[in-house]
Assembly symmetry: C2
Amino acid sequence: MPLSISKAEMEEMQAFVKHSHRVDLSAYMLELEPEKRALMLRFFSKEQLAELFAELPAEDKINLIESLAQVDLPDILAELDSDELVDSLQELPSNLVTKLLLHIPENRRQVINRLLNYPEGSVGSLMSADYIAVRKRAKVSEVLEKLKTSTAGHEHLNTIFVIDDERRLNGYLYLADLLRLDTEDLSSIIHWRPLTITTGADQEEAAKLFHKYSLLVLPVCDSEQRLVGIITADDIFEVISEEIYEDYALMQGMAPSESSYLETSVITLAKKRIVWLLFLMLSATVTGGIIDHYEAVLSTAVALTAFIPMLMDSGGNSGSQSSTLIIQSLALDELDFSDSVHVVWKEFRVGFLVGTVLALVNILRMLLFTDTDFLVMLTVSVTLLLTIILAKLVGGFLPLLAKKLKQDPAVMAGPLVTTIVDACALLIYFKVAQILIGL
Amino acid sequence: MPLSISKAEMEEMQAFVKHSHRVDLSAYMLELEPEKRALMLRFFSKEQLAELFAELPAEDKINLIESLAQVDLPDILAELDSDELVDSLQELPSNLVTKLLLHIPENRRQVINRLLNYPEGSVGSLMSADYIAVRKRAKVSEVLEKLKTSTAGHEHLNTIFVIDDERRLNGYLYLADLLRLDTEDLSSIIHWRPLTITTGADQEEAAKLFHKYSLLVLPVCDSEQRLVGIITADDIFEVISEEIYEDYALMQGMAPSESSYLETSVITLAKKRIVWLLFLMLSATVTGGIIDHYEAVLSTAVALTAFIPMLMDSGGNSGSQSSTLIIQSLALDELDFSDSVHVVWKEFRVGFLVGTVLALVNILRMLLFTDTDFLVMLTVSVTLLLTIILAKLVGGFLPLLAKKLKQDPAVMAGPLVTTIVDACALLIYFKVAQILIGL
């Protein structure tokens, strides 16, 4: 079937390629039939091809490489910033990587090879080797000359780094300040002792620095304080949201996922979710055991059974409300273990307040809508109050304890809070019943 | 008590002030006794005082203003970028705002007054009015001249905007590209048809654009496409994490909080948490009603009671695992309502897999560790499988439905998933018991 496309359509396509953002272009391209896609590619400049290449999923990268003329490839690779190139290479099969590396000049290949060796999730794997560094005695004209010949992306050039003869990072200056400078004396605009991070640090640490200090760029040094790369703010949005989502996935007992929901297979999703559910189910041996133990109590006051779901839900949810807030504050470095007394005392008071209101509303509800025995009513309400206080204390303290024990608060707090609160709520319930109803 | 401080301490203090980041300086200042603080302030440059001022909490801002000489105030206010100034003014009591506005030159006061009028959380309240805009026929030298006389912060100058005679935004260019440019013809480096956002948009929308398009700056236009401000990447880190934390707080039935945990009062925390707990408790009338209705079943097979907590926990947690993932994908615009069939089918299969494994492990656990009746064992396992499938379907679909109904998926999904799954799990349990045990 021959592809029929009108001149008007062609012109529209050309205008679309010219004016669209690479993110939208790549999303659009993926929807096109292969013939139209090939046609559209002809309207791309080399810079746009490079941008598109960086944006495409792995499989389409392979297709694009195969449909490109061999002569274009080196130009396109040259257009890519080193972090984009490394990300792309990491996605591709090794035979293709070898082929691509042949098209990269020797000096750049060394940089790329070094970047390829940093573990995923490390600052080294996130950083770019494209930046401008000058000596502190450089003249303004020298700096401008370096800038003019740089092929790095604009986002890598807003800050210029100042190094000594051993490439150790001394400071940095802003391009905007350089242009506003009246003298040839750089040192008046250099910011000394910059914040840095090492290649081996977790990307989460970098995200925390960007967030805390409102950074746009962060220099990366090796263990000897030599400048080896930079991270820019646009790399960090992804990291911030990934790290927070990871915390919450862990709190729900799910292993965090790198890929999007629709791209993740059923088996992978099931695997990521099952461990915690198994843990919860097996730990339910405890709650089951408690109920079995007090079977006599339940069979003399069957009415008590009807309130078990309510008590467990209220306890579990009160606890996870508290741990959510504490895990969030820990992630933002607003809290640490030394605040435990403060947190426990605060959660106790919140629990007492919330629990009292709930217990009173519960009595009202039961008086109005049920004909429950007064002692059962009292048992349920007292248990509700005690369970909520306990849940708030456990939910507030466990994440702090996890942090102190150098465990991930989200991993430890999620499953344990539910398990502990469930078991305690039942024990409280039956104890209160024995005392009040005198079973 | 006279303040004794050695010369060495003074020098150390001076060095600390000179080399510390404003975030660390303000944190350090807050820990100092007032006398030392006053002493330390003497080492601050006006630029540093302005930076410190932007960073301090409201109460300390007031103290700082009061301890400053009246002559310094205009200089310090002039050093602040418009977004920092507006943020500060919004925190201060109105009499102080009036006083401060007197120190701001008339033309700047108009800009500030306009910025002060945007509602909190809007793009208008987040943006800065400090940026450089040029006409598209401007010469390179004119642009550089504008830059030289600008007092805006460096982060506002990396991108230069191109406007027409009606101040409508036409495009932008990068400062780095301007310096790399060889001719006087700006148009070759102008990027036309830029992404923009309007002043009235929610800051969450701006965060999504920064994230999706890896932006460092986003121009803000009014309803007639006139450029009125810019947002820079460093403003966005806070928004991204706030928005995600807000989603999760809402999922746990908590009203999101602007202030940090330690700064929030017990009453406020209790208020934020109680609504959902009340809702859950009242909705438990349903689960209680179901148990009452099947009291006869329970009293003939009391053993069934022991498994109620396990079934409710497994159901509730399976459901919230699914809704967590779906809410996350919705927030990242990876999913919408049209994916419902896809999501439901995927969740069904995940639920079937996970449920089957849990049911089998449960049978094994009961065979090994308990002497439960075979029919009870079968009832529990079948219910477990069905409950988990149901929980995954409800947890996966409800957030999508909420989005379709233009409700916040996090607000709606959290409480409803638990309530619906709890009630259904019990109904399934008793129905299966009636069929299998023949009660």
